[in-house]
Symmetry: C2
Subunit: 393 residues, 2 copies
């Protein structure tokens, strides 16, 4: 068991109609001028942005807007947001959307709070460091990324096809309003991608090279069982409030640190997916599903007991056969669940057919030209990455 | 399912040797002058207070001290602390101890931050209100109360034998250092009392009159199973680091709100115990254990399914017989566990023999002379309270 820090200062306001409180909350956290940041037109068309504006106005908070965030949020829009924020004296970024919008808002927050850092991208590639981030608030509309309670953000630099992350406690949102009803209109494909992402945030922490606290394992297993049950119910009926609420809250708990207390996260599947997503613009959740099984088969022999425990406690697989056999059954059960929710378990199913050269190019990128390893359950170097990308084709 | 707020801003620093960081943390949260608050001599004798002082001095933080907190913390010492703090310009209260010390520190924090409130006791009896509390930090030495992450505090007014609580978000500690090793020297009786308290914080929320989120139930059940396993191991060998760590972290999670998301807490057992403890100075955990079974038998028919679920998912009781039979088996299993860890399951086992008049006096106190009800799973009025006190004798 490792020492750990658990720090989740985000105030969560969960339930029906709670988005009405956004003005009150923004005020509580001291905002004077807000940048409302959002994605495509759905938040506008649904009337959500209007309701947000109304709530801000009622509290006497002035605001400007910047829409247009796309999945795998772009550095170029973050630059635009920083410029706009500085010109207008913005001191609070309000993300109305899912993980991409929140991550973009955090990027803008870094820009606002650190005028001495000329290029905010330097934070994401390790050339600069800061603890400061302008306050970010969230009205969540997609349950997936967990960014509403995390300090992390992932940004894509388009011209280099590079996707990188940066993490500080001050980027943790001040508040997150979570009304499950706001997720009703999401397309089923995106719901399924979110289910994978949430489960993967838990599993990346579950497959720790050292034992997590047992209570952490119990929480993680309970969360995964909840996802399996309510994931399917969400897809059957996206307006099932209970199901959407379970998924939405699981999304936050999966990524606020709770499911990793006492352990060391692996994160290899995420790293492998980030480079796949940086080059091919595949949906993050679909990419994770396409890679995970291959990662699992490549690494499980490091600690088959961990995988057999996963099989038994998450999928209720009987203790019959060797530990390795049970481990493999758990991996298969996970893949079968992904199939059930129509997620890919190989990259080709997403329409991307990787050549041998593509595989090597991805391994080059993911290993920073062979200068870094990823993973913790098993450390993976460039050759390992290439093998997993190849297995996952 | 109810709407809910989840807000746990306390920064948790968990693991071996982490108390060395106390100076750094106090500084991070802006303290200039600290009041070190503690209980009996054990924190001094063990050298912990000296290590805390050393860490503060290394960061250039000045401090004064106030020891002497007793279980069921006294209002009189809080008055003394407020006076001392005001005279010395204290702006941060550092609690080194368990729930009683932390609650006393919160009481002092209210006094410091609200000079316009003449008597801090007014907060506890509903005569005054505030959101302000001076910042409190914690070095935890007892896993039990969960006060290290909660906004609640419970104080006893000695001359009236009244025990009352007050709860605000600003009283949530800024940080909590949790080194399981600091709990090694605790007497076994106190360890057992802590185990009961932690489990009861979870169960008070589990027995909600509306369905909690299912993920909340899974977390609560996992926490209770962890407590049953590691509670026994803690008592067998108090220096079992893993066991003490599981219990310590469970203690915080049980009371930071996580185990109640989406539900409505009951809290009747706590309320009944508070008045018992206010009059008789019984250890809080022992009092809860002595009352719970009688409460459960008195109320379970309101929703036997909830109790049978508890029996099945926490104690793995087979689905044989009627729902009511399974429910009763769960109550018995809980009481058997209390017996195993040498906790009372009736008040007389603690040496307190209540007369009929005593029972009525307690019901009078607990109902504020018949003016309030307690509980949510089943609302309990003065007569109900008297019946439960009587059953629990």
């Amino acid at each position: 068991m490792e020492n750990f820090i658990y720090y989740t200062p985000t105030k969560v306001i969960f339930g029906k109609d709670e988005e009405k409180k956004v003005g009150e909350l923004v005020k509580e956290f001291g905002a004077k001028k807000v940048l409302i940041h959002y994605g495509g037109g759905s938040a506008v068309r649904s009337g959500l942005i209007d309701r947000v504006k109304k709530s801000l106005s009622e509290e006497g908070i002035s605001y400007i807007e910047l829409g247009g965030v796309k999945p795998n949020p772009r550095l170029s829009l973050i630059y635009e947001g920083i410029k706009l924020a500085k010109e207008n004296g913005v001191d609070f970024v309000l993300a109305v959307g899912g993980g991409s919008v929140i991550d973009s808002a955090k990027g803008i927050g870094y820009g606002i709070a650190n005028p001495e850092i000329e290029d905010v991208w330097d934070l994401y590639i390790g050339k600069a460091k800061t603890k400061k981030c302008a306050p970010v608030g969230v009205v969540l509309t997609i349950a997936a990324a967990g960014s509403e309670m995390s300090g992390g953000s992932v940004v894509t630099k388009e011209d280099e096809q590079l996707k990188r992350s940066y993490n500080t406690d001050n980027a943790r949102p001040k508040f997150a309003i979570m009304n499950p009803e706001l997720t009703y209109t999401l397309p089923k494909y995106q719901i399924a991608c979110g289910i994978v992402d949430i489960m993967m945030h838990t599993m990346e922490r579950y497959f720790s090279p050292v034992g997590n606290l047992e209570i952490t394992d119990r929480v993680a297993e309970g969360l995964l069982r909840t996802m399996i049950k309510y994931g399917k119910l969400s897809l059957e009926n996206p307006e099932n409030y209970e199901a959407r609420a379970e998924i939405m809250w699981a999304g936050s708990l999966a990524h606020n640190g709770l499911t990793g207390c006492g352990g060391i996260g692996d994160w290899a599947t995420h790293q492998l997916e980030h480079d796949l997503g940086g080059v091919y613009d595949i949906a993050h959740g679909a990419g994770l599903a396409a890679i995970w099984g291959s990662w699992a088969r490549y690494v499980y022999k490091e600690n088959p007991e961990r995988f057999s425990k996963f099989a038994e406690n998450v999928f209720e697989i009987e203790k019959v056969g060797t530990v390795e056999e049970i481990a493999i059954k758990g991996i298969e059960a996970m893949e079968n669940f992904y199939k059930e929710i129509e997620m890919p378990i190989s990259i080709s199913e997403t329409g991307i057919n990787l050549s041998d050269d593509d595989v090597l190019m991805l391994a080059e990128k993911c290993s920073n030209n062979g200068t870094r390893f990823i993973g913790a359950f098993k450390k993976l170097y460039k050759d390992d990455m290439a093998k997993i990308y190849s297995m996952a084709r």
